[in-house]
């Protein structure tokens, strides 16, 4: 257990902060602590979590991407046009087109970073502007409301009316989100590719000397984020029942903050899917709680910003300041090892 805590201090701290926040909110409002509200939070967070686990892969491999949210907008638009061209389409075609376009946009970023040796933040700020500029230029900012029925109809895998009259629903975005999380977790922790991505982000020179294919690392990480951006974009279109070109503009910073909050390190080598999910949920829970408390929506951003700041301070502060007992054990253990070594 302590070993688990040592390796995942950020996740544990975040989890603790979240519990405190939840307890406080359930006292502040009577609606917060209900199962249906919990499912609401999940439904609302699904798209951001899909984005976040994609971004996580890029962060772990030592890169960063600012363009994925507008890339998702491009995906939405292209997919909507393509399925109209195909005469209606269906979910399978929708996923294939969205995924493929997303991967394509991700690979553009990878090529800029790997082939042209542009540092990822500059490369993706550029593609952020290019993607968004092209989208606004060709769409003239016009939204698409005329989407096929299969795309806009809510898909509910499980539903149940609670005794208080509220509904508990497990919807498609949540199921897709769970699949994305499991797939990302599996890739990152069980496959050789995932471990190489961690190693590459941790110590690029060390990875190179081991003969790891550095080009592949770039294409896989940005390609994976592209795929997640495509799927997330499709889910957002499904959820919103419309395609608005600037709907996701600005989402990249929210997702980035939540991912870093969840323990991913800017600079690479560190981060986990569970931390990522907790990071996004933390922000969603805050917004949900503020909503239920009747706080003015104009104050949301401010309060969410403050919560992120507090959570990140707590999780980056040395754990011995927060948990004296564990830390003591850790130090003693370290010294014992030193003695062993001598």
């Amino acid at each position: 257990m302590r070993r688990l805590m040592l390796g995942h201090t950020t996740e544990f701290t975040l989890f603790a902060v979240m519990i405190v926040l939840c307890v406080a909110l359930s006292f502040a409002t009577d609606r917060f602590f209900t199962i249906s509200n919990a499912f609401d939070v999940l439904n609302v967070s699904a798209v951001n979590i899909i984005f976040a686990v994609g971004l996580l892969v890029v962060l772990i491999s030592g890169g960063i991407d600012i363009s994925f949210a507008v890339a998702a907008s491009v995906v939405q638009y292209v997919t909507a046009l393509a399925i109209a061209y195909l005469g209606g389409g269906n979910w399978a075609e929708g996923f294939i087109i969205a995924g493929a376009v997303g991967i394509g946009l991700g690979l553009i970023n990878a090529a800029l970073v790997y082939k042209l040796q542009i540092i990822s933040i500059v490369a993706t700020i550029s593609t952020f502007n290019i993607f968004f500029g092209l989208l606004m230029f060709f769409t003239k900012g016009v939204s698409i409301y005329d989407l096929p029925e299969w795309l806009t109809t809510r898909v509910v895998f499980y539903e149940r009316e609670m005794s208080d009259g509220s509904w508990l629903e497990l919807t498609l975005p949540v199921v897709v989100m769970i699949l994305c999380c499991v797939a990302t977790w599996f890739m990152m922790s069980r496959t050789t590719i995932g471990r190489q991505l961690y190693a590459f982000g941790d110590n690029p020179e060390g990875a190179r000397r081991f003969g790891i294919n550095i080009g592949a690392m770039h294409y896989i990480s940005f390609g994976w984020l592209g795929l997640m951006a495509g799927i997330g974009g499709l889910m957002q279109a499904h959820y919103a029942e419309e395609v608005v070109p600037n709907a996701l503009y600005g989402r990249e910073l929210d997702v980035l903050a939540a991912t870093v909050l969840g323990g991913a390190r800017l600079g690479g080598g560190k981060g986990s899917v569970i931390g990522c999910v907790l990071g996004v949920l933390m922000v969603s829970i805050t917004q949900n709680g503020l909503n239920l408390m009747g706080v003015s929506p104009f104050a949301f951003k401010m309060i969410v910003g403050a919560i992120i700041l507090i959570a990140i301070t707590l999780s980056s502060a040395r754990i011995d300041k927060l948990l004296p007992f564990f830390a003591k054990g850790k130090i003693e253990k370290g010294q014992a090892q030193k003695r062993e070594a001598h």
Partner: protein, 497 residues
């Protein structure tokens, strides 16, 4: 152990870089299971030779290369790997966030069935490699939790997973303390006993002499010779490596007639150091030695204002000072040359000139802006005063050798006109020849009236260069010695006791 047939044999190795002949027909042999030292100053061609052996560089025509009796015409890095030739680089090339098992068995994350990592096989291989070294480590601990000496072990164990037959260790002890080095030496012995040949590349002569069977000495890309280590002395090796002779003599002198510049009274900081008191006089060099963790660097950082003492007094020129930050300490005339030159002391990509004036920018201002002529003067003055060998002051500092970088780092602090200069491990990563040059500077500065605190975990350094020696252990002053009244062996015995 010695078989008639050498494991590795190289003859007539020549290589030229940009018109400069880096290796001038060198030959090199390693026997199976021996510990062989490859010695020479920086730039003598040691690393180039290793890179030729591992297939990174191609030697010029006429070279003869054989491994295990088989002639090799064109070595490649992957061929070197499959033959069992492994290099443990100075920077270790490990992954800090990953576990010990994964670092050792990373091979399993590079090639796995169906692209999956076989964690069990990885852990088994890691365990086996550690057992072969006679070490037990917690396989699931993240690497960053381990002290540097144990990371070194992890790097060696990793080489064993690759079925090593010949292991090169490039400066493996550069960042280790004496006791950690002793530990490593034992590991290398175990390795050699299990039939793996080890080539040890190191600047630290004491350990080279302790561990090796034979040594090959290179100087300026040419072979000086192959020598049995038995009967070899440090000064003889230094002479072979540099072609010069360095006399060592105690220089300690009394400074009782000089005014006290710094007086430290009962200085304490919880868990770091306790009840430290000493006086430092004008022109005096005070040596501080002891094992890592003795609180030396912590004490230095406190004198430099980067940490605050919990109790006690620092009296500078008769006035009690309470530094709020190191800026205040610098202004009061305290300079601190940090122990980690590469990452803390110098800004590697920046120019020599910019590094040199980094601490003294306020002295080269002209109506609030940096004055290029003033800067040029300062740079030119110190470069000639300390004899730094450079191309142009605009060159990045990383183009300089370790010894010259250290001179620039010292010049950076001299440019503020300090009263006290604290040198923390000033010779780490510096060649034998260049070390002598640095200590020459230290002596000259002391003779000019600068008070110096010289921190080193190598007793000979303080023994030959300080007027008085403070021996710290576990945060306390254990004893104060006068080098004139003891032998070096006495001092070493006390420090390593």
């Amino acid at each position: 152990m010695m078989s008639a047939e050498p494991l590795l044999s190289l003859k007539n190795i020549k290589i030229t870089f940009g018109g400069v002949r880096a290796l001038k027909g060198v030959s090199f042999e390693v026997n199976p299971g021996e510990v062989h030292c490859l010695a020479g100053e920086n730039g003598c061609g040691k690393s180039t030779l290793i890179k030729i052996i591992t297939g990174v560089y191609k030697p010029e025509d006429g070279a003869e290369f054989s491994f295990d009796g088989q002639p090799i015409t064109a070595m490649t890095p992957s061929m070197a790997q499959s033959l069992g030739i492994q290099v443990i680089w100075q920077d270790l090339a490990l992954f800090g966030e990953m576990t010990v098992a994964e670092n050792i068995g990373f091979q399993y994350a590079v090639s796995g069935k169906y692209g999956l990592v076989d964690k069990r096989a990885m852990e088994k291989a890691a365990e086996k490699a550690l057992a072969r070294l006679g070490v037990s480590l917690d396989l699931h601990l993240p690497l960053k939790e381990l002290p540097i000496a144990q990371r070194q072990i992890v790097a060696i164990a990793r080489a064993l997973v690759g079925e090593a037959r010949l292991v090169f260790m490039d400066e493996p002890t550069a960042s280790l303390t004496q006791s950690e080095t002793d530990y490593l030496i034992e590991i290398v012995r175990n390795l050699s006993a299990s039939g793996v040949a080890v080539v040890f590349v190191s600047h630290r002569l004491a350990e080279v002499l302790e561990i090796s069977d034979r040594m090959t000495v290179l100087r300026d890309g040419a072979l000086v010779g192959v020598f049995p280590v038995e009967g070899m002395t440090q000064s003889r090796v230094t002479e072979l490596m540099t072609g010069r002779n360095f006399d060592s003599a105690v220089i300690a002198a009394d400074h009782d007639d000089q005014p006290v510049v710094l007086s430290v009274k009962n200085l304490s900081r919880a868990n770091e150091f306790d009840n430290i008191s000493f006086d430092l006089r004008r022109g005096e060099t005070l040596g501080v030695t002891g094992l890592l963790g003795a609180g030396r660097t912590e004490l230095a950082l406190t004198l430099f204002g980067m940490r605050r003492p919990h109790s006690g007094e620092i009296v500078l020129d008769g006035e009690t000072v309470h530094f709020g930050s190191n800026r205040e300490a610098i202004r009061a005339g305290v300079a601190y040359l940090s122990e980690d030159r590469l990452s803390l002391g110098l800004n590697q990509p920046q120019s020599i000139a910019d590094n040199l004036v980094m601490a003294s920018l306020d002295r080269i201002l002209s109506s609030g802006l940096i004055s290029p002529p003033k800067k040029e003067n300062v740079v030119a003055h110190w470069i000639s005063a300390l004899g730094v060998k450079i191309g142009k002051p605009e060159d990045p500092i990383r183009t300089l050798s370790g010894g010259n970088q250290q001179r620039v780092a010292i010049a950076k602090w001299l440019a503020i006109g300090p009263k006290i200069l604290i040198l923390d491990a000033p010779t780490v990563g510096v060649d034998v020849g260049a070390r002598a040059g640095i200590f020459e500077i230290v002596r000259k500065l002391a003779a000019e009236g600068l008070s110096i605190i010289l921190i080193s975990d190598e007793p000979p350094e303080v023994y030959f260069n300080a007027d008085r020696i403070i021996h710290m252990a576990e945060g306390r002053i254990k004893a104060t010695y006068d080098p004139r009244q003891m032998s070096l062996t006495d001092l070493e015995g006390k420090v390593y006791a």
